[in-house]
Symmetry: C2
Subunit: 273 residues, 2 copies
């Protein structure tokens, strides 16, 4: 038995962190159980040295709340934060001397506002119990945040159901708005969606909604708050044009992403012949 | 001098963390200089006790990379991760017994693909040096990621300029696609933008782009890869319809957000009379 080979094998099996490789010459460290900070630092140094020899570039380190003791030693070794979710923080490290080409973190929150109009030309509106519209008496379209992994169309249907009890079908995206620095340094994309009601009896949610009703679209659009704010006024005019069959928005087409064949929706006015 | 008042004053001035209050009964902790972990834990406990008496709810703790030693003690006291950016991690804590109503983290990355067509009916296309299209010979529309705080329209113009040297004006959004789990657990929104070239001489970027050229739109659309992937095929058909003046997308209208009067763009086909 060759001693050098044997020694290398021991190094690989015992003295490196458990990790897998990705398609971009990256390394994904996998730590599942508690680890002593000193042991972690030693293994991390040995591992990075090996990965450097192998030509690896980016190193990903996902640490759950339970492994919080390893955040400080990782930062001391040159890792920095990439993103975090409630149960974990993801840290990254770049091995080469060049500047890193790691993909950026998510930058936008996505919201929906739903235009639901019945066959009497009335729009479904709500008054909110909290937030900046609390106590203002302003009637608004039902709005909400798109959840992680949720389609825009399903988020619009879900929010209307949650706030008012009304069942709907998704029709199209009438407009969308991008705004910045709405929350820490993040941006917002808000999609105004046209939905068709399939039920009419309102059962409002008590914790967030003060009141909900069907209101003539023109009465909604003529509220002083709406008329005095360009963004709301423009959206109200689009909704009125839609109600009067004078407007076409973007409809969803079920498709797939090119590289992974995962389901996705493409929104446009284009109708393939 | 009343000893009790004096004692209270000392508690407030010396034994609490420096913090400010937000409009949602929240507390934003402000730590600027190094702090011993034990001192931090003691001050945090005293502070939260006081904030509880004041009816405060959410507590926000932003820790820079330099303050990484305070991440572990914060988690031990019940904080969890909200989000992170390269230079800091944001932790949160909820004081009441109720379940928290803290706003969610950003959930989407936003990308742009640019359809730039010259007056000969040729589209600006590139071959990429890295990623999943590396070495495939596929000609693609120039694409890129919208940066933090950047308008979709400006991102499209910037990416075309960076990859090909071509100067453009933004015209409209032809379509957009939402897909999920494209990167960790995050979603993607990709906007297909129509741009008008104001220069024609290509000067490609060498580090990311293998080749760039003006190509007849039909030749681009007829590539086997494009025809075999529904999402790419649909986008190519929309681009051809646009080139032939048979399609209208969403144009941007400069507006402001209702609550803060910050600049934002509303995209739709609606033209106010």
């Amino acid at each position: 038995m060759n001693m050098e080979t044997s020694s290398n094998e021991i190094v690989n099996e015992v003295d490196m962190l458990n990790a897998s490789y990705d398609a971009f010459e990256g390394v994904i460290i996998n730590i599942e159980n508690d680890m002593d900070e000193y042991v972690f630092t030693t293994l991390l140094r040995t591992s990075i040295s090996q990965w450097r020899q192998q030509g690896k570039k980016g190193v990903w380190l996902k640490l759950s709340l339970e492994l919080v003791n390893l955040v400080k030693p990782a930062v001391k070794e040159g890792f920095w934060y990439h993103h975090a979710e409630p149960t974990y923080v993801m840290l990254v490290y770049w091995i080469p001397e060049t500047s890193h080409t790691l993909p950026p973190n998510a930058s936008h929150r996505v919201g929906v506002a739903s235009f639901v109009v019945n066959n009497k030309g009335e729009v479904l509106v709500v008054q909110e119990k909290s937030g900046s519209f609390k106590g203002t008496g302003v009637w608004k379209l039902p709005t909400g945040t798109v959840e992680e992994g949720e389609d825009i169309s399903l988020a619009a249907i879900r929010e209307v159901k949650e706030e008012t009890g009304i069942e709907t079908e998704f029709m199209e995206v009438l407009a969308f708005r991008q705004s910045h620095k709405s929350f820490f340094s993040k941006s917002d994309l808000m999609f105004v969606c046209m939905l068709k009601p399939t039920s009419l009896d309102i059962q409002k949610q008590d914790s967030e909604i003060e009141a909900a009703e069907w209101m003539p679209v023109e009465e909604y659009a003529n509220q002083p708050f709406i008329k005095n704010h360009k963004s709301f006024d423009s959206i109200a005019k689009i909704c009125i044009a839609k109600k009067d069959d004078k407007y076409v928005g973007f409809s969803p087409l079920l498709t797939t992403t090119a590289t992974s064949a995962k389901k996705s929706y493409l929104y446009s006015t284009y109708q393939d012949q």
